[in-house]
Amino acid sequence: MDFAFSEREEMLRKTVREFAENEVTPKMGAMEETGKFPMELLKPMAELGIMGVITPPEYDGVGLGYVARTIVLEELGRVCGAMPMAVQVHHMGCAALYDFGTDAQKKKYLPALAKGETMGVVAVTDPSGGSDVVGMRTSAELKGDRYILNGRKCFITNSHTSDFWIVIARTAEGAKGLSAFIVDKDAPGAKAGHEENKLGLRGANTGELVFNDCEVPKENLLGQEGGGLAIAMKTVSETGRTGMAATALGILTAVYEEAGKFASERVLYGKPISALQGIQFLMAEIYAQLEISRLLCYRASWMKDQDMRFDTESAMAKWYACEAAANAAKKAVEIHGAYGIMKEYTVQRLLRDAMVTIPAGGTGEIGKVVLARAALAPFMKK
């Protein structure tokens, strides 16, 4: 076993950290205020390798895999949780295209994503769906050489910042009746609808997609007709959950640093409050939550890089890290006392950001369904 990061991974972390601290920090005020994603950072992030970190070099990515991706997301999230949120969903788009796209589809879309010309989106959730993926109503009907889509997608990250979306829609009844489509944002009958005003991760764009007799050329079917559920499940489980977990991990790192810094600077009773055991216990818990989350996140990513099955591990990392981030952020707010609820202080944002990671990419309960299945599998009688 080897828990150490390689020199390559350490260098990767350093460069992303420098980038995030210098380039993302100045954007954060506007991101919080307007809820807009800083599109001007797409190109610089792509030049660094962030946008194409999991995309192979043949499609203009750097192909460094999932441990590298987790480092990238963690470091971005340490500075600003909205960045890894948007970037990880972008990666979901990259992964779905790479795993299920035809050669022509990959050549057309993957380089543009890796170069930061646009952002990736995988739109699964319907107003009627959510955790009940199969309950979705957005429909696609084949008419001649094109599919006609009708319905709405909601809570879609990067909805308004992307030129095309991967959309899951119903082509037939039942679980095997879902299919995935690449929908151009300028396709007739397609539009980005309402933009959401979120509690946290405000700088990541979230909104609705609306399809009204939307025409999608037949060649834009991703994978097989009826393969939509598998595409959604694989992408959410492998890329989405590890991505949300890494986002939460980044937030946790910031929680730990903010809490530690405040506790050692704030003086009460003539001493820094870090000398008080009550504060020390909170710090101990935050620290453990951070380290446990880190282990879970990197194990899941490492398993992906080894081509191992890791749906249980990704669900565990996602559930634990997001819960831990929110829980630790609350403790950090408490350590700050009244300062903690002031907008000037970072911790209140961390608490809000952490809360948003919990339902994103699958609620904690859905995660536990996956975990329970794995937990009880050895005891199941045939």
Partner: protein
């Protein structure tokens, strides 16, 4: 453009300077446990070299005189985009002052050979003598310009250089080869791209000892350095909290001294 040499100095990371202590017997600073980084201004020097290469081609070679651990700093420079690195490392170099260091670096430049430009940072954050640019140039018998904040290429390989001085600047026209040291206003160093990290893994870091360079051993190291440390005081890495006393006039004079000691350019 044939070749551009960039001198790079590993310096202790200022974030860890509070851990520095002093050995009262040898009068040296104990730096154990303090990671080293590329001297910040040297990154601007490297960026200058890379942007020259971007438009005029050539090879960018990093040159450093440092203990063997400096390979990790050089690797970062290679990941930023330099083509290869040369590390001058020999126990005989230890204790060299700027004069001896410049002599060794000059030998390193000559070993690399065939260069048109040498870039350095204007000063290092630890020693902050700002002496190596001129001394290296002297030993290379080349002209030099310090405090460079802008440069533009002319026809026939001449460079227009803007040199920052107090309250203004000097515009100079230089021909190659020339040794330049840069201020941070010159450029913004690029971030290390992921592809650069991968590429650096197969780039060469050549380590040379004085056997390879053949610098007269009486001119290097502690022995060969004309300046000697006569005293060393670890003043503070914490706040000094020095309370000024005396009449208002005395306090004002001391305050003005303190202000002038801040070395504001």
């Amino acid at each position: 453009m044939k070749r551009i040499i960039v001198c790079v100095k590993p310096v202790p990371d200022p974030k860890h300077w509070h851990k520095v202590s002093m050995d009262p017997v040898t009068m040296t600073l104990k730096r154990a446990g303090i990671p080293s980084i590329i001297n910040p201004l040297d990154k601007h020097a490297l960026e200058a070299a890379l942007s020259v290469r971007d438009i005029r081609g050539g090879e960018v070679v990093l040159l450093s005189m440092a203990p063997p651990f400096a390979t990790s700093n050089l690797k970062e420079g290679l990941a930023m985009g330099a083509d290869r690195a040369v590390l001058l490392s020999d126990p005989a170099f230890a204790g060299s002052d700027t004069l001896a260091t410049s002599l060794i670096l000059a030998a390193g430049c000559q070993w690399i050979g065939d260069f048109d430009l040498v870039f350095l940072g204007n000063f290092s954050i630890d020693g902050s003598t700002a002496q190596v640019c001129s001394q290296l140039a002297e030993f290379l018998h080349l002209p030099n310009v310090m405090h460079v904040i802008d440069m533009k290429w002319q026809e026939n390989d001449k460079i227009i250089i803007i040199q920052k001085i107090e309250q203004g600047y000097v515009k100079l026209e230089a021909t190659l080869p020339v040794v330049l040291s840069v201020r941070k206003e010159l450029n913004k160093p690029r971030y290390v791209p992921f592809t650069g990290i991968l590429a650096a893994e197969s780039k060469e870091i050549k380590v040379l000892s004085n056997e390879d360079l053949g610098v007269d051993s009486s001119s290097i190291g502690l022995e060969g350095s004309p300046t000697k440390m006569a005293g060393l005081e670890l003043r503070r890495f914490e706040r000094a909290k020095e309370r000024l006393a005396g009449s208002i006039e005395e306090i004002v004079a001391k305050l003005a001294d303190k202000i002038y000691q801040c070395n504001i350019s």
